[in-house]
Symmetry: C2
Subunit: 298 residues, 2 copies
């Protein structure tokens, strides 16, 4: 590609730029950054070749990546729409996809065909341009969630860029994506936040935390994530998250009844099923970290 524009040059956008450059997949990278400090830093680090504050910078780009907070997607797309050339493909890296698709349709109208949404399954606990690393996406999944309006060639162009970053391309619809991540990511985050908040609000919280050990530490690690980001994800995906939460609360109510009845056989069956399923999952990860199963990969 001749020119790629990255909106938001933090961990996600900066790592994408670094990886594309290393792969020789781009000639010129422009960063659009609200934060003058981030923009200057990204330039100094060589992550971008140029910093712009005006969305007119997207005019002759081959590709635009939105890597700003997902709640800003609609606003950003509306701002860049007047400058969008017909040959430019726009993509994003947001953690929720149905809301992004809806925001894109509202902001872009029929030019939504140029917007191919996606979600790289990678992250770190740090942020900003200094956190950006060249190999963040190597061996990680990138979930493409194309729209019915997208041209196959544009979808492939986005897939090719992420492949150049080392990612393994998967494909789901935006709705499938949101259901899957509600179950395996968004719900666990909510559950971990809820447990720590529950304990922190008890009068003897200090005593409790004093005896919390490594199991508690791992269980609640995701409760160390950004509250603002997870508020946005929870709200953006609230329909799917509520469905998963309701199923989980029904499961807890059943387990509660079995526990109150002293039904050790059922408790052991549930615990044993969970242990077995988790072991199979871990073994599957370890056996095939790199190539995804043929039926799910692009």
């Amino acid at each position: 590609m001749n020119k790629v524009v990255i909106v938001g040059v933090g961990l996600i956008g900066g790592s994408f730029a670094r990886a594309l450059k290393k792969a020789g997949a781009v000639r010129h990278v422009v960063g659009i950054e609200r934060s003058a400090a981030y923009g200057a830093r990204a330039l100094a680090l060589g992550i971008v070749d140029e910093v712009a504050t005006d969305f007119a910078a997207v005019a002759d780009a081959d590709m635009v990546l939105l890597a700003a907070p997902v709640a800003q997607t609609g606003r950003i797309l509306a701002a860049l729409a007047p400058h969008l050339s017909p040959g430019t493909v726009v993509t994003d890296a947001g953690s929720t996809k149905a809301d992004v698709a809806a925001a894109a349709r509202a902001a872009l109208g029929e030019r939504v065909r140029q917007f191919v949404p996606g979600h790289p399954i990678a992250g770190r606990e740090t942020n900003g341009p200094d956190a950006a690393i060249v190999d963040l996406y190597v061996g990680k999944k990138f979930v493409l969630t194309p729209l019915a309006e997208n041209a196959p060639a544009d979808v492939e162009k986005v897939a090719e860029a992420w492949r150049a970053c080392g990612a393994i391309i998967h494909r789901l619809t935006p709705e499938e994506h949101d259901k899957v991540f509600a179950a395996v990511s968004h719900l666990p985050h909510l559950l971990a936040y809820a447990l720590v908040d529950d304990i922190a609000n008890k009068p003897h919280a200090d005593l409790l935390f004093q005896y919390a050990a490594s199991g508690f530490r791992d269980f609640t690690r995701i409760a160390g994530s950004s509250p603002e980001m997870w508020r946005d994800i929870s709200l953006a995906n609230s329909a799917a998250l509520l469905t998963e939460l309701d199923a989980y609360m029904a499961q807890l109510a059943q387990l509660r009844a079995r526990l109150a009845a002293g039904d050790g056989a059922t408790l052991e069956a549930v615990y044993g099923n969970a242990q077995r399923a988790r072991r199979q999952w871990i073994e599957a990860i370890e056996a095939a970290e790199a190539p995804p199963p043929a039926d799910s990969a692009e």
Copy 2:
């Protein structure tokens, strides 16, 4: 001590024996083992000096440690009671304490004064004599939960033995212990098992597990624990666990209502409170891993 008897020479009992020996705190260690293979292996590894199958072996012991599954505590105490000398102190390593205290009173009658219950907060995912290591307890908490019937000198004798293994001695009543661990250990285990079982039972479980990532892996690590052991812990501590589970389910119901109402401010407040509390807890751990606060330590 001249003679220590370990009932169950697996990870917990074997590591206690190894650590006492290394500290020069015992002359002769006898293992009582139902499994002939474990007994022979513990002898071959030098963990014990002698293996017995008859509880008469406790007759002239200075100390007896019960390190068999906690559900067997009553049976074991009843079996060793006829052989118990007045000068012998018996202790245990079970994960629940009120049920152990009740079982001890039932099995030992007035000689329950010789039984000082406790709980080392240490473990690994392996078991058996080969898993036993000399430094398992170094820097770890040992929670002494003495009974009203215990003589202070006997309580101190048990504390001294665990101190010799490198543990930091804390003290709670059996009831306090069970309430604390219901909140910070038993409930998280139940929640993790419930989530994995919930997902594993969905028709599209394979798709979901395919996209589960490191956050899910950490959140559910404790669902890899022994189903039998956690069935026993859940049942033994069901009263305190039900109390914690009910509080958590009420918390989830509140969060569900806020999520359904699109109340981002409350979600962010709960998530933020959890993130803050967890950060403070982690900082407290890191700042003072070794010496416990004066008001909680022995």
